[in-house]
Symmetry: C2
Subunit: 189 residues, 2 copies
DNA sequence: TCTTTGCGAACAAATGTTCGTTTTTATGAA
DNA sequence: TTCATAAAAACGAACATTTGTTCGCAAAGA
């Protein structure tokens, strides 16, 4: 219980699996309890509320993205390399915790006030930095696109498909393929 | 009530709005009734069940895609033109019924047995034809990619972003931009 | 009149959560 | 090691709400 994983964390991970499978709203505490091997009431020895679970899942992913972005953003490398590093980051996080990242991606709208605010703020910062990289690359003549908002969102969507593709492809080949598509899409023909 | 739109259709459209906003599982018949201006029980004068609503929404979109695909697929035009026509199709459907297509995209997993089977079959057919166009284009040397499955899914994901972007961009400029990105991603650099 | 549409009350089931109590685990002195 | 004790974890029963849906009946439209 000390070396391995905390029971709370195990409950959260199981919740992520269920939220991914059935969706947040359609997953009950009883579902979760039975999958963890506890009675429903016992869950509340470890968490405050159902929404707490979602909050932990979403914000821990947000933090990972935020940290990863900051590491990349402030490096002195080309924008192309930064984009490649960001693709790598997405896949790294996805392969590490496939369920969480899917919940992070699809179920965040069920977050409540404070957690939602924190989530959105983190996302806004991520988006801002991502777009900065894109427009810098455009200024340097490395990238070619009309609208950075569209470019950003399209890339994010391509990456978010990878969360689904994890079972089918290994990390390296998926990363290679995704990188090719994204770089081609960004580059002048 | 005759020239315009049937009341059942109005209920379905309102349901689509709610399912899009709150998700299928989190939307109650009481929510729907109150938004339509009826008592909950009156809803059942028009529909069989809550899932019926989802079925109508998802399968009507599926039919539109299926018809659109067949029209394009059997034409004697280049693969590049077919892809462009498919992009156009997605945007056409999206701008016509933004709520439905979002539900179609995000909430189909709540379909039950028969409807689910029909949905999946339709989707499989669509995917098969889409991939055929891609691989034909590859054979002709027009497209360049390693894995048609990845190529297909990435394109679909880019298109699915447009369902969200509808409020921000007009159809023509969004289509132009999306087409550029997708064609570039598919074309040898 | 007959059919469609709408209503209000009620239903059984499922939901998130609380509460008091028991069981288990960790702690630290004898 | 032993035992008492405190803290943590698990339990069972119960709660108030919300859920999808049904049913008998009234109103409206054909």
């Amino acid at each position: 219980m000390e070396l391995a994983i905390t029971k709370k964390q195990h409950i959260i991970n199981t919740a992520a699996d269920l939220f991914k499978e059935k969706g947040y709203a359609a997953t009950s505490i009883r579902d979760l309890a039975s999958k963890v091997g506890l009675e429903p009431s016992s869950i509340y020895s470890h968490i405050k509320s159902k929404e707490d679970l979602l909050t932990e899942i979403c914000l821990s992913c947000a933090t990972r993205f935020s940290n990863g972005m900051n590491e990349i953003f402030f490096q002195d490398i080309t924008e192309r390399k930064k984009i490649k590093a960001l693709i790598h980051l997405h896949l790294e996080i996805a392969y590490e915790n496939p369920a969480s990242i899917t919940v992070f991606n699809d179920e965040w709208k069920f977050l409540h006030e404070d957690a939602m605010a924190e989530f959105l703020e983190s996302r806004k910062d991520y988006e801002k930095k991502f777009k900065k990289i894109l427009t810098d690359g455009k200024k340097n003549g490395k990238f070619s696109f009309e609208n950075e908002d569209i470019a950003f969102n399209i890339i994010i969507k391509m990456l978010s498909w990878s969360y689904v593709a994890i079972k089918k492809y290994n990390k390296e080949s998926l990363e290679t393929e995704l990188t090719k598509f994204i770089i081609k899409a960004l580059t002048e023909k």
